[in-house]
Amino acid sequence: MSFPWANQYEPQNPLMKWVDDRLPLPRFVYNAIGAGYPVPRNLNYFWNFGVLAGFCLVLQIVTGVVLAMHYAPNALVAFDSTEHIMRDVNWGWMLRYAHANGASAFFVVVYLHIFRGFFYGSYKAPREMVWLMGVVIFLLMMATAFMGYVLPWGQMSFWGAKVITGLFGAIPLVGEPLQIWLLGGFAPDNAALNRFFSLHFLLPFVIAGVVILHIWALHIPGSSNPTGVEVKGESDTIPFHPYYTAKDGFGLGVFLFLYCAMLFFLPNALGHPDNYIPANPMSTPAHIVPEWYFWPFYAILRAFTADFFFIPAKLMGVIAMFGSILVWFFLPWLDTSPVRSGHYRPLFRKFFWFGLIPAMAVLFYCGGAPAEEPFVMMSQLATAYYFLHFLVILPIVASVERPEPLPYSITEAVLGSDDNAELKAAS
């Protein structure tokens, strides 16, 4: 679907016409990311991150497929095969650094994309499906990155796999057999490494599939925008191409510059040194920490240090860690304020900037820190706020807040006046 004033595809050359008549793929592309997709004229740079996330996915798939041509998923040789890539494969060091830093870049981009959604209320009707698909993508990305990190079979690979699969052991009754079944043994070993490799290869393609659903769902109502006011007329939109292709091109340039600066000059800055030590089941690292992008959730996991009535502390931590992401699924029905954008929501804005963002920062910091005081107590307070924010504060704010006046339309927000608004006022 699209707005009635959307440009119609008219093949310019006979070949494209021939193809389009038989398989309307050119038309599909034109309507999805070409001049046939009308987009609000006022999108800011936060709307660049979706396209960048798509780019990252392609980057990870391309570098990953080539890495897989040289990597050996066997516990005896996995570590050495990664070093073989680094030393003997032509440009192998660049591939591996591109893939490892690409995972980090992917998460940076996706976190900014999600942040945009939180602040501008992009999850609200009629875009709930877009949001739900997004949360599914995020969960799949976490699984993919976790299993990818296990592949080089260093110390953090091994112990990370052990800790995370150990979480399933916290489930009452079935926990332990489940954990053994998942790992194919009592501890991570060849069986686990092999299935992780297989799934790590598969999941990015599943992600690609869900991304298609995500964009399909988006194109029903079209993109939201920083005012959160829906498109009212033709003057509110401009065609995706050339306006947003040009803007995304510039965004991609900035992204690639920063990404390559990391890749070529600080390629190990985001990694953990222990992963350059081959996996050793007999020697536990002093601090087991996941990759930086998992730190907030790892902090939530470790915040539950005391049994709560009949629920053991560990189980409580596992429920909370998964719960902290699952609450995102319910966001469209928790935040019921009809106003989308945080720009026009004074109370929401206060809780967002002075509550949620600091709490996330604390969780991020504590998740990377050793599990000792004062970090545990700090993450406990931040975890409490996190759940309060999404489950208690947002619903209450939505019903007590008095939003600021909205512009009549996107055009008015951009130009200061809108002919349609004036006509309406006159009538």
Binding site: M86, E373, M377, F387
Partner: protein, 285 residues
């Protein structure tokens, strides 16, 4: 309804985590301290670089081949008695500036595992450029037996396997000292046991490696550099940085043109974007 359930679930999580907070706080108050004092917290030191830093520091830094050759000499004459270098082949040494004949000679100076062509029995033979540096001990048990129950780790990736690894290796080698009197008094359990050596840069303060570099001119450098302990430590740290990251020079050399190109392309993309948007600017510009 969703909101009501949501609020209840939210309060449940909050109550559970605040309960954990209160129990934790109670422990802290009853013990009167945030975390128990340990010898490591008080005496462990963070690594520092040699004065003047390393030649390969920073975005423009690169290896000093002369220094890598000296570092290799230290490894060969001192460290290789106990430590392997299993990811490095003799042929790789050409990157340090040795020519083919020199690499052949170096390789031939090492005995590597081989098979007797007549009897098929395991033996040793002179190394060839395609061989990897041999292990000094036949297995871990032998390594432990010779080293006070500690295995000397492989050094190929050592500088990437520790925080600030190059500085760490340098600091460790130059950091041996007598255990401070306060440590012995306050944490008798952390004083070096038999066969262990105090070193504040090592994670748990005492390690099984005796100071390997002890005297000036322990190795005699061919290039006239004075082989002080500090110099040898710097050189071997630089060499081990190369063994861990042999592609460092190439990486940075590739990086600059890539960034230059991206900067150019991004400026162009920006100008193109301005051009395209020229007719759509609102009042805010």
């Amino acid at each position: 309804m969703t909101r009501l359930i949501g609020i209840l679930v939210g309060l449940f999580f909050t109550a559970a985590v605040l309960w954990a907070f209160v129990s934790g706080a109670a422990t802290v108050i009853s013990e009167g301290e945030l975390k128990p004092a340990t010898a490591e917290h008080h005496f462990h030191k963070l690594p520092h670089e040699p004065s003047g830093g390393f030649s390969f520091n920073g975005a423009f830094g690169k290896y000093d081949k002369q220094q890598l050759q000296r570092g290799f000499q230290v490894y060969k004459e001192v460290c290789s008695a106990c430590h392997s270098l299993r990811h490095v082949a003799f042929r790789d040494l050409e990157q340090l500036g040795y020519n083919e004949a020199e690499v052949k000679a170096i390789a031939a100076g090492f005995q590597v595992p081989g098979v007797d062509p007549n009897t098929g029995e395991a033996t040793t033979r002179a190394g060839m450029p395609t061989d990897y540096f041999p292990k000094p001990y036949p297995n871990d048990i032998a390594a432990r037996a010779a080293n006070n129950n500690a295995i000397p780790p492989d050094l190929s990736l050592m500088t990437k396997a520790r925080h600030e690894g190059s500085a760490y290796v340098y600091s460790l080698l130059t950091g041996y000292q007598d255990a401070p009197a306060e440590l012995v008094k306050e944490f008798p359990g952390s004083a070096p046991g038999p066969g262990l050596h105090y070193n504040p840069y090592f994670a748990n303060l005492n390690l099984a490696m005796a100071p390997p570099l002890t005297a000036t001119d322990q190795v005699s450098y061919g290039d006239g550099t004075k082989a002080t302990v500090d110099q040898m430590a710097q050189d071997v740290a630089a060499f081990l940085t190369w063994t861990a990251e042999p592609t460092l020079d190439k990486r940075k050399q590739t990086g600059w043109p890539v960034l230059g190109f991206l900067l150019f392309a991004t400026v162009l993309a920006y100008l193109a974007k301005q051009q395209v948007w020229a007719d759509k600017k609102g009042k805010k510009g």
